[in-house]
């Protein structure tokens, strides 16, 4: 084609920044610390600290929330679709996985796959509705759907086991909290890989384009409807996976766990984490998870402040602190946690340290203002 045939002079571009040897060492040290904290510390592996089983379990919750936040980020951040019934996708994944393992007596891995599929299908059906509605009305539909799932679908006894719930045993070899943590970590890594590759290739670029400017996207040949549905499928699949991991962490799935409140907390942690920032969203989710199960406050020795001084039970701290952080994010720090850590993140990836990296002007879900 003509583009390749055109003569291309060898131009000298500006020399890209390369860190000094000391710079490399510094970055390497930080990477090593992060790796140790994530890979070794929670599993008592190569670690002088003793982490109790319950704490490993708390860490697992952080990982699972991260998967869920990533799934919501695909919908809200990449595709610009607001989903306020996300706990339904997650819950469906949980129950499906439990059902497959308990009632159908399959392996955990089959349960995981089924959960992903169920999440994807459910999401695509809702996505087809989204194609016909504007953002606000679609948000309403997802809200209503979430309530319906909670009241109706999750009440089908044969599927969800009624009040007693369904058992969700862990796979052989991963029964202990420590081992299960590593399993979830591995799956988070897979989810991150797919998310990364998606955004670095044709699919992700199509999503970003259609979110911001569907007309231009279409005129570049992007099938806006198809790619929107793809985003729902991917987001739904990730949610289903998160649901499965959640189920087998709790060992029993009860419908009460998938209340409406959870949907708002999920949205909170994704927006506060920072839309379209993988690392921000993961950190946001971990933050909310560890806040909710008390481990964060334990670590910071702040438990007394909430429990004694404010008599605010740990369980409800995210409900009170979360919205305040949301308001902060929406009005003053639109890039959320992702924006705050952007300078460090860029530095770790070998670029020069830039305090102004990752500047975001406003929380942009969609562009519709009127």
């Amino acid at each position: 084609m003509a583009i390749e045939e055109a003569a291309v002079p060898e131009t000298t571009t500006k020399r890209a920044f390369v860190p000094t040897p000391r710079g490399w060492v510094a970055r390497g040290a930080v990477w090593a610390a992060i790796a140790w904290f994530v890979l070794c510390y929670p599993g008592n592996f190569l670690s002088p600290f003793e982490v109790r089983s319950l704490e490993a379990d708390a860490a697992t919750q952080a990982i699972v929330f991260a998967v869920i936040a990533l799934s919501l980020n695909v919908l809200i951040g990449y595709a610009g679709q607001i989903s306020l019934g996300h706990q339904a996708f997650v819950g469906f994944g949980s129950f499906s996985s439990a059902y497959v393992v308990t009632d159908l007596e399959q392996e955990f891995w089959m349960g995981l796959v089924v959960a992903a599929l169920v999440g994807a299908i459910q999401a695509v059906v809702l996505g087809a509705v989204a194609l016909r509605l504007s953002g606000l009305y679609f948000a309403l539909i997802t809200l209503s759907y979430g309530v319906m799932a909670e009241e109706s679908i999750f009440n089908i006894e044969s599927f969800t086991g009624g009040d007693a719930g369904k058992d969700a045993p862990r796979p052989i070899g991963f029964e202990s909290n420590y081992r299960y943590y590593y399993l979830c970590l591995g799956i988070l890594a897979v989810v991150l890989w797919i998310d990364w590759r998606m955004m670095r290739t044709k699919g992700g670029r199509a999503l970003l384009a259609l979110r911001e400017n569907p007309r231009v996207a279409a005129s570049l040949g992007i099938n806006v409807k198809a790619f929107t549905l793809l985003a729902f499928a991917v987001g739904g699949a990730f949610a289903g996976i998160g649901g499965s991991l959640l189920a087998h962490r709790d060992l029993t799935v009860v419908r009460v766990n998938f209340e409406f409140r959870l949907a708002l907390v999920f949205v909170l942690m994704t927006v506060v984490g920072g839309l379209r920032s993988r690392s921000g969203v993961v950190l946001g989710a971990a933050f909310f998870a560890l806040l909710g199960n008390g481990k964060l406050l334990d670590l910071l020795h702040l438990g007394w402040f909430f429990e004694d001084k404010l008599s605010l039970p740990i369980d409800f701290v995210p409900l009170v602190v979360g919205p305040l952080l949301l308001l902060l994010t929406l009005t003053m720090y639109p890039g959320g946690i992702g924006q705050q850590i952007a300078p460090v993140r860029e530095w770790l990836l070998g670029k020069r340290f830039d305090r102004h990296a990752g500047k975001v002007k406003e929380v942009q879900i969609t562009d519709v203002r009127a």
Binding site: M1, A2, R197, T201, R205, A217, S219, L220, I222
Partner: protein
């Protein structure tokens, strides 16, 4: 055969006839200009041709395809590229990313394969980057490759938009006011760029613009629209001196004696050398 053929196109919006029996024919490698006052229906015509609007009557034919009912992205796949009045780019992405996105139709792996990180996708991405780099150089945009489109000045954005529309390897380019915001010298340079692009890429161009001298110099054929109808058509000089066209732009009775001073002033404003 013609590249683009619009036959008796009409479209009505809530009682207003925005286009009324408009017919147009564009031949291979032609540059066709469309002029006319604001609100004449020029962009509406583009929107019908590209598929954003569905006409109430008439057909649109691209080569041997009747595309009147085809969705927008399928028309793009056939080889129709288009620029927009308020610069059609993904503002949140960098210039390079925009050029990668624009190559959507040229990508050699399929979406799912890309998502799972299949080895072929990496090699293909490299190829896309090289192509994007070449386009950036061709339009003197290498320095802003890593800048977000939202941060770039208007003139640069216009060039970037042309780069993106070329990236998809189109046969027919529909340019909606490529010269807007430009002064007479810039418009002249743009004209050179357009002629170059036609020569290098072998594309057919249809352009809407208000710079009458630009359109006149560069076009092989010109249509003038007013109130949704074709007022005049023909070679540029014929159309430019057509009394109806003059009246549409200058709003005067063509039989009345011409006020030389006023005419000079108006022509100077339109960028015409006086």
């Amino acid at each position: 055969m013609s590249v683009l053929e619009v036959t008796n196109l009409s479209i009505t919006f809530g009682g207003v006839r925005a286009l009324n029996e408009v017919s147009m024919r564009v031949s291979e490698w032609e540059i066709v200009g469309i002029i006319g006052p604001n609100g004449a229906g020029k962009t509406t015509l583009f929107n019908c041709v590209t598929g954003f609007y569905a006409p109430t009557a008439g057909r649109v034919r691209y080569r041997h395809h009747d595309i009147t009912d085809m969705p927008v992205h399928r028309r793009a796949a056939l080889g129709i590229g288009r620029t927009f009045q308020n610069v059609g780019l993904v503002k949140g992405s960098t210039a390079l990313e925009n050029l990668l996105t624009a190559q959507h139709l040229e990508v050699g792996y399929d979406t799912l394969a890309g998502m799972f990180g299949v080895p072929k996708s990496f090699a293909e991405e490299e190829k896309l980057r090289r192509r994007a780099g070449m386009l950036l150089e061709m339009l003197r945009l290498e320095d802003v490759a890593g800048e977000r489109a939202a941060d770039l000045p208007y003139g640069v954005l216009k060039r970037l938009e042309i780069a993106t529309v070329l990236a998809a390897d189109p046969d027919l380019l529909l340019l909606d006011e490529p010269g807007s915001g430009m002064g007479p010298e810039e418009a002249h340079a743009l004209g050179d760029t357009l002629l170059e692009i036609r020569a290098e890429f072998g594309v057919t161009i249809v352009m809407i613009d208000h710079h009458v001298p630009l359109v006149t110099r560069v076009s092989d054929y010109v249509y003038c629209l007013n109130f949704g109808e074709v007022l005049a058509e023909g070679p540029p000089d014929v159309v430019r001196n057509h009394p109806e066209v003059v009246r549409a732009y200058l709003g005067e009775d063509p039989d009345a004696p011409i006020n030389e001073a006023e005419m000079e002033a108006t022509l100077a404003e339109a960028g015409e050398p006086v």
